[in-house]
């Protein structure tokens, strides 16, 4: 590990004389820098989206997993009695920390987004909702349903399973899409840098020929090009990552972790550490892509 780190450092430090043997290549230098910066920026956003999706899904899933809802549909004159009976059952059920019947105002607030603020709740056959908060490992849903069926026939228990499962599955898929996006960005970076390296190698065919004629080994020629492209990718990716980080930090509500998905996009706390590997990974991609391109070119020219 120490040896590898030392080799990486000496590679990055380079050999001034060896570096000078390859002439400066303005176009490919700018292309590599721009590509690395743009791809790093996109990686930062893909990473932030992926992390935010995972974070929100985890929070929603956790909240939904800890709560249930009991819905009581009964004629108006029986509703109060059935609600009281249901609350009695719930209070004596192990695994339930608290059960509370929603007030008329709370039910009104739940329906407001759909029907507007002036809904005459009294005139509608609205079921009574009871919010259940679980404790420990939760309650035995099958047993509770059986008791409720016997004592409160109009009660329907919703333990949120049918909400939670698709949400968790969707979050998993979104996270996988984020990972796929990052992989595609890495592959695109490799492709772009390979093209830039091939262009630089072709433009310097005469330089390569002269170096070979005076006894340069393949490793020497390859290193001169590889180091240049690796450093450009590292610099570009560092700039792109920094820019992406600044933009994320400027997003409203990013650090506060609000529930809204859009304002929740961003990084918080230790999530920022995920940005650190982006520049070295971009450099590693450039290293591999340029080395492969250089070796192919040297093979062709021999």
């Amino acid at each position: 590990m120490k040896r590898a780190a030392w080799q990486a450092l000496s590679f990055l430090a380079g050999d001034v004389q060896a570096d000078r043997t390859v002439p400066p290549t303005g176009f490919t230098a700018r292309l590599t820098l721009f590509t690395a910066a743009a791809m790093a920026l996109l990686t930062v956003f893909a990473l932030a989206l992926s992390l935010a999706t995972g974070r929100l899904a985890a929070r929603w899933g956790e909240e939904l997993a800890q709560t249930s809802t009991l819905r009581i549909s009964a004629p108006a004159e029986q509703l109060a009695a059935q609600t009281a009976a249901a609350l009695d059952v719930l209070r004596t059920t192990p695994g339930i920390a608290r059960a509370r019947a929603l007030t008329e105002e709370e039910e009104q607030a739940l329906l407001t987004p759909w029907f507007g603020p002036d809904l005459p709740l009294d005139a509608l056959p609205i079921p009574q909702l009871i919010e259940i908060e679980e404790e420990g490992d939760g309650y035995d849903a099958t047993g509770l349903r059986a008791r409720l069926q016997a004592e409160v026939p109009g009660a329907v228990l919703d333990d949120h399973t049918r909400w939670r499962e698709p949400l968790v599955a969707a979050a998993g898929r979104l996270r996988a899409l984020g990972a796929l996006a990052i992989l595609l960005i890495g592959a695109s970076t490799a492709a772009m840098i390979t093209l830039a390296a091939q262009s630089a190698l072709s433009a310097n065919a005469q330089v390569i020929r002269v170096l070979r004629l005076v006894g340069a080994r393949d490793a020497y020629i390859t290193r001169a090009f590889v180091r240049r492209f690796t450093l450009r990718a590292l610099t570009g990716a560092a700039a792109g990552t920094l820019a992406g980080g600044v933009l994320l930090a400027l997003l409203p509500g990013a650090a506060r972790g609000t529930d809204s998905f859009l304002t929740g996009i961003g990084l918080a706390g230790a999530d920022w550490l995920w940005l650190l590997p982006i520049p070295p990974l971009a450099a590693a991609v450039a290293f591999a892509a340029t080395r492969m391109a250089a070796r192919r070119m040297l093979e062709r020219q021999s």
Partner: protein
């Protein structure tokens, strides 16, 4: 050191030469003459492994160049100083860096400071040290190419028309350098049209002259 055995080379569908054999031993001094297009440059390229023969074998220090790994070839080239007809410089580098290039690629650039001042003075290019190759005349470039060819103190020196663009005085100075290196045990092979150069060399050192004509390599010299 360098040996060509029954070598043939074909180019563009036609055979340039065939059945050539040549051995460059330590301390030997060869001139290669022949009409333009006879294949002198090609023969030199075969000698330093820039080309591989169509048939026959070229051995560098006993190792066949056909199928030789590129790194092996590179290491052998460090033992051969070559003055190319078209000089082959890195145009973006100053003269000093170009002359020191064989040392640089061998990881011995720090030695350049010890050799460069004398070498550049010897070929008369001290005041052009910071210039780049495109800023030099043809003769100056050839002198610089010779300086680069000898900076590693190679065992063999191969030169393709090294005096083609220099005046008489300079050609004699370059020849004197090559003769001096030959007396130190280096093998020298020079392709040239310059008969005066061959005569001058013969006056100083034992020279073997070969003529490439009609696809054959023959010994010449009686007429010189």
């Amino acid at each position: 050191m360098i040996e060509l055995r029954d070598v043939a080379y074909s180019y563009g569908g036609g055979e340039l030469f065939s059945g050539l054999s040549l051995s460059l031993a330590p301390g030997s001094f060869h001139f290669l003459t022949g009409p333009s297009g006879a294949g002198k440059t090609t023969l030199l390229k075969l000698c330093y492994g820039d080309l591989v023969p169509t048939s026959g074998a070229v051995a560098l220090w006993g190792e066949d160049t056909t199928g030789m790994a590129r790194d092996g070839l590179a290491l052998n080239r460090r033992r051969i100083g070559v003055v190319h007809q078209d000089c082959q410089f890195l145009d973006h580098l100053p003269l000093t860096d170009n002359v020191a290039l064989p040392l640089t690629v061998a990881g011995r650039h720090q030695e350049a400071e010890a050799y460069l001042p004398d070498l550049l003075a010897w070929v008369g290019l001290t005041r052009h040290a910071k210039r780049r190759p495109p800023e030099l005349s043809g003769g100056e470039r050839q002198r610089a190419a010779l300086a680069r060819a000898v900076i590693m103190s190679p065992e063999v020196i191969i030169a393709d028309e090294p005096t083609g663009n220099v005046d008489w005085d300079m050609s004699q100075r370059l020849l004197a350098l090559l003769v001096e290196l030959n007396r130190m045990g280096k093998a020298v092979l020079i392709a040239t049209h310059d008969m005066n150069l061959i005569r001058s060399a013969k006056a100083q050192v034992a020279v073997r002259t070969l003529r490439l004509k009609d696809r054959q390599l023959i010994a010449a010299g009686a007429e010189l």
